[in-house]
């Protein structure tokens, strides 16, 4: 277990000052990785606030490097405008929990896939009115027919795709022919 004094980049005085400003619980001996995952589970996706960043599967790892906490985050899409905001929200949540200077690493390998959205995350998406991704991304065909997507409102499978692109990069636009409601589908990638 790393000790407080282990850090070579910070003087003892620096750490004392830091401990003055932040609650003393942000230490590896007091806050386990499980606790930190639970903490991150409170951070919601700003564009789809129904699910947390953990449920979305974009938190790839949480590590203690000495007394520094390091979190690996992967973007959903190359151009996702929420990427920076999500990183800020994670930093903010960790600061509020007493981490002085949490480190956020953006990782690209392996690329995020909707297969990483947790079961709970998918259920929450559906309850929020967004049809969760169907099937596995590895089985998607390049020019194949669209899959059958169940309406998140009434459950009917009699739906049609209006557009392969929706209100955000991660969603497609569908319409239910049974209850006539339009809905978003979280694209399978």
């Amino acid at each position: 277990m790393p000790q407080l004094g282990d850090s070579d980049s910070r003087s003892a005085v620096d750490i004392l000052i830091a401990s003055d400003r932040v609650p003393a619980n942000a230490r590896p001996d007091l806050l386990t990785e499980v606790d930190i995952w639970a903490l991150l589970d409170e951070v919601k996706d700003p564009e789809v606030p129904a699910v947390s960043v953990v449920e979305l599967g974009i938190i790839r790892a949480v590590r203690w490097d000495g007394i520094e906490l390091s979190v690996d985050v992967t973007p959903t899409y190359s151009g996702c405008p929420a990427t920076e905001l999500i990183e800020e929200l994670i930093t903010e949540a960790l600061r509020a929990a007493g981490f002085r200077d949490p480190k956020i690493n953006q990782v690209l390998i392996p690329a995020w896939t909707t297969d990483w959205i947790t079961g709970e995350g998918k259920a929450k998406l559906r309850a929020f009115g967004i049809a969760p991704p169907e099937g596995s991304s590895s089985k998607m065909s390049l020019l194949g027919a669209p899959e059958v997507i169940a309406c998140p409102h009434c459950g009917s499978k009699d739906t049609e795709r209006v557009s392969e692109f929706g209100s955000t990069a991660c969603k497609a636009l569908y319409r239910c022919k049974e209850c006539l409601e339009p809905f978003d589908y979280f694209k399978c990638i």
Partner: protein, 254 residues
């Protein structure tokens, strides 16, 4: 040409082609023929600008002269841009917009697919993310080419005209130069023959389904974009795209 020189050049080509096509698509923001089309075009543009940023960041590290991704994008002039000529061609009607997108998407998809197996891990990582997006782009643009080509008399005629107008810029996509060959030999870039075959195969397949005729095999091809020799359009695109950064260099708040 050394491998490092080729890598810098190649990263700029990928980044510049993504950015310029993205900029062209963004010209349609607020002007697309239907709201669903507008969302789709802007989504594609967003994916491309995100990918461009990833390539620029890596290019900036390789070039290592103090310029960051933003400076590479917004402070270089047309002759330093390395984008494919196809990407800078004007939107014209929707047949041209989607035809340009289709020819590009086929090239982009097979290029990225190959790059996911690059010996350069950073390239492989960026490509692994990007190829998923390019797959969606290609599905959409090929559907449009088929729908317009195999549609009404007028849509067929206009789609065929689009193919005829754009064909002269497609040779550049699949004609390798030293940069391409050096990187292919190093296992970093795609195999040029494979890329050319894949591109021709899919383009012919989709055009046939769309009842369209591809251009002749021996057509004259314009090929200067990868070396900074551009059509007259690029200067106008940059004038608009780079205005703010040129007028207020190094501003930290807009």
């Amino acid at each position: 040409m050394t491998q490092t020189e080729a890598l810098k050049e190649y990263l700029l080509r990928l980044a510049d082609s993504d950015l310029i096509l993205s900029q062209r698509l963004c010209e349609l923001c607020g002007k697309a023929p239907a709201v669903e089309e507008e969302m789709a075009l802007m989504n594609v543009a967003l994916d491309l600008v995100g990918q461009a940023r990833n390539w620029y960041q890596y290019a900036a590290e390789q070039i290592d002269d103090g310029r960051d991704a933003d400076k590479l994008a917004f402070r270089r002039d047309a002759h330093n841009y390395r984008n494919l000529l196809l990407t800078e061609q004007p939107n014209e009607d929707y047949a041209v917009t989607m035809g340009r997108q289709f020819f590009f998407d086929v090239w982009h998809y097979f290029t990225l697919k190959s790059l996911t197996e690059s010996s350069d891990e950073r390239i492989a990582g960026i490509a692994a993310k990007a190829v998923k997006e390019a797959t969606y782009h290609l599905r959409r643009s090929s559907e449009w080419v088929k729908r317009l080509g195999d549609g009404t008399e007028e849509s067929h005629q206009r789609m065929q005209e689009a193919v005829d107008i754009l064909w002269r810029f497609t040779g550049e996509l699949i004609t390798p130069d030293d940069t391409d060959r050096v990187l292919a030999e190093a296992g970093i870039g795609p195999d040029p023959d494979q890329l050319a075959n894949d591109w021709r195969g899919m383009v012919n397949e989709v055009l046939t389904q769309a009842t369209l005729t591809p251009g002749p095999d021996d057509a004259w091809m314009y090929m200067g974009g990868k070396h900074g020799e551009h059509t007259e359009h690029l200067g106008f695109i940059l004038a608009e795209m780079q205005f703010l950064q040129r007028a207020y260099p190094d501003a930290t708040t807009w």
